[in-house]
């Protein structure tokens, strides 16, 4: 399929359309407001469901197949924050704290972007490795830790509580649900999984659609901060994912992932965290400006990946893997 056709399929999925509806709702100042509790519930559900499915798949995966993709993911978790930090500090002339904060966000991963990529590949009929959620868990933490380390070494870290941030990170709900869900899936196996499939599998895409409606409203509120963020941030939030995505696809291919698997590793690399990273950064780098990192991650990169990134990284993957 040509990239334009892929983009059309992607843009016309209920998921992306719901995101667009959320944006519209905010722009026309609608009184639509999803309860905070619904948002929290859906994010817990999505993380647990992603983990569960991954755990069940992992139970049937041999270490021989898994180690190379896992290593590739870890490498991404080290390299991306370094690139992101350098770009923000050298080219963008941002402060140490702001640069490290961006590095943490772009090095880590967005579980919802991951979920959207699964759904996208399902729709166009491309298979991928079942253990991909395990890579989400592997990629989530290290980049944040490395970014905080950079900040500390560069002397930009004052007033923040570094150790508290790492502790918070490891026990954060996103890690706990993802890893916990995987453990449940792995221990309960396919038989246990089948019992809860009506909730955790069948409803997944619908729940994701609902969630993206809310996320569209959140992202649109970020748009207001775009002018203040400036041109550098806009460029950063679009070019950085393309670089990281290419890197991810390529490393995935080297590590032996399939076309679908390489696409998803590209998506993971390209995506910017907006659950784990903001919380950790707020604690460890309180002087970093949330107006920068949240606007970039949630206001620009997330919509970009959702609308354009998914078909783009897939097309890249067909080139790099030679179409299979």
């Amino acid at each position: 399929m040509a990239i334009l056709e892929l983009m059309q399929i992607n843009l016309l999925s209920p998921m992306v359309l719901a995101f667009a509806l959320g944006i519209i709702a905010t722009l026309v100042h609608s009184d639509l407001k999803l309860p905070d509790e619904l948002y929290t519930t859906l994010s817990i559900y999505l993380l647990l469901a992603i983990g569960l499915k991954g755990g069940i798949a992992l139970a049937e995966t041999s270490l021989a197949v898994f180690w190379a993709p896992a290593l590739a993911t870890l490498i991404l978790g080290v390299i991306i924050p370094l690139i992101a930090y350098a770009a923000a500090r050298r080219i963008g002339k941002l402060s140490i704290a702001d640069s490290a904060a961006l590095a943490a966000h772009y090095g880590s991963v967005s579980a919802v972007t991951f979920a959207a990529s699964q759904t996208f590949l399902d729709t166009i009929g491309i298979k991928f490795e079942g253990f991909m959620p395990a890579l989400v868990a592997i990629l989530e933490v290290p980049a944040i830790v490395i970014a905080l380390l950079i900040a500390q070494m560069a002397g930009g870290q004052q007033g923040g509580d570094w150790k508290a941030a790492v502790r918070e990170l490891l026990t954060s709900k996103s890690i706990l649900l993802l890893v916990g869900g995987m453990a449940i899936g792995w221990l309960a196996g396919p038989r246990g999984g089948k019992e809860v499939a009506p909730l955790f599998v069948d409803l997944f895409k619908g729940a994701l659609t609902f969630f993206l409606l809310e996320l569209g409203m959140v992202a649109a509120r970020r748009f207001r901060d775009l002018p203040a963020a400036g041109l550098f941030l806009l460029g950063f939030a679009i070019i950085m994912p393309i670089i990281n995505g290419t890197l991810g696809v390529w490393l995935g291919h080297l590590a032996g992932l399939s076309l679908g698997g390489s696409t998803i590793l590209g998506v993971l690399a390209a995506s910017a965290s907006y659950i784990a990273a903001p919380a950790a950064v707020r604690i460890a780098l309180p002087q970093a400006n949330p107006g920068f990192y949240l606007t970039a991650a949630l206001g620009i990169t997330f919509p970009f990946n959702l609308a354009i990134g998914l078909p783009l990284y897939y097309t890249l993957a067909t080139w790099i893997t030679g179409g299979a």
Binding site: G159, R282, I283, Q287, G291, L294, L298
Partner: protein
């Protein structure tokens, strides 16, 4: 009925600081607290935790000296980088010893 005057300290804070602030309150001599969920806007613009949920409204009834040390501590520790405000007022309670204690 014997009424005593104690101080009610109210703190509006990003949700992310909850554990930290409650810990500080206990350290400084508060013997109880009440927390509600709120949202708001001030001069500092966006909160990091904004989209992650609500802010908190923490209330604690304490002796006047404790109240002052809480305000001082918050101003020094959180006001610079976090979206936190605090204020205090006089309130009257029955059986003030519950809130004054022996700090």
């Amino acid at each position: 009925m014997e009424l005593t005057t104690v101080k009610l300290v109210t703190i509006i804070s990003e949700a992310i600081l909850e554990e930290r602030i409650l810990h500080d309150l206990r350290q400084l001599g508060a013997r109880g607290y009440t927390v509600g969920a709120v949202r708001g806007e001030g001069t500092r613009g966006v909160h990091a935790s904004e989209w992650e949920g609500k802010s908190l409204r923490i209330e604690t009834l304490v002796a006047p000296d404790v109240a002052e040390s809480i305000l001082q501590h918050l101003a020094a520790t959180y006001f610079p980088h976090f979206a936190v405000i605090a204020y205090m007022t006089d309130v009257q309670v029955v059986r003030g010893e519950k809130f004054r204690g022996q700090q």
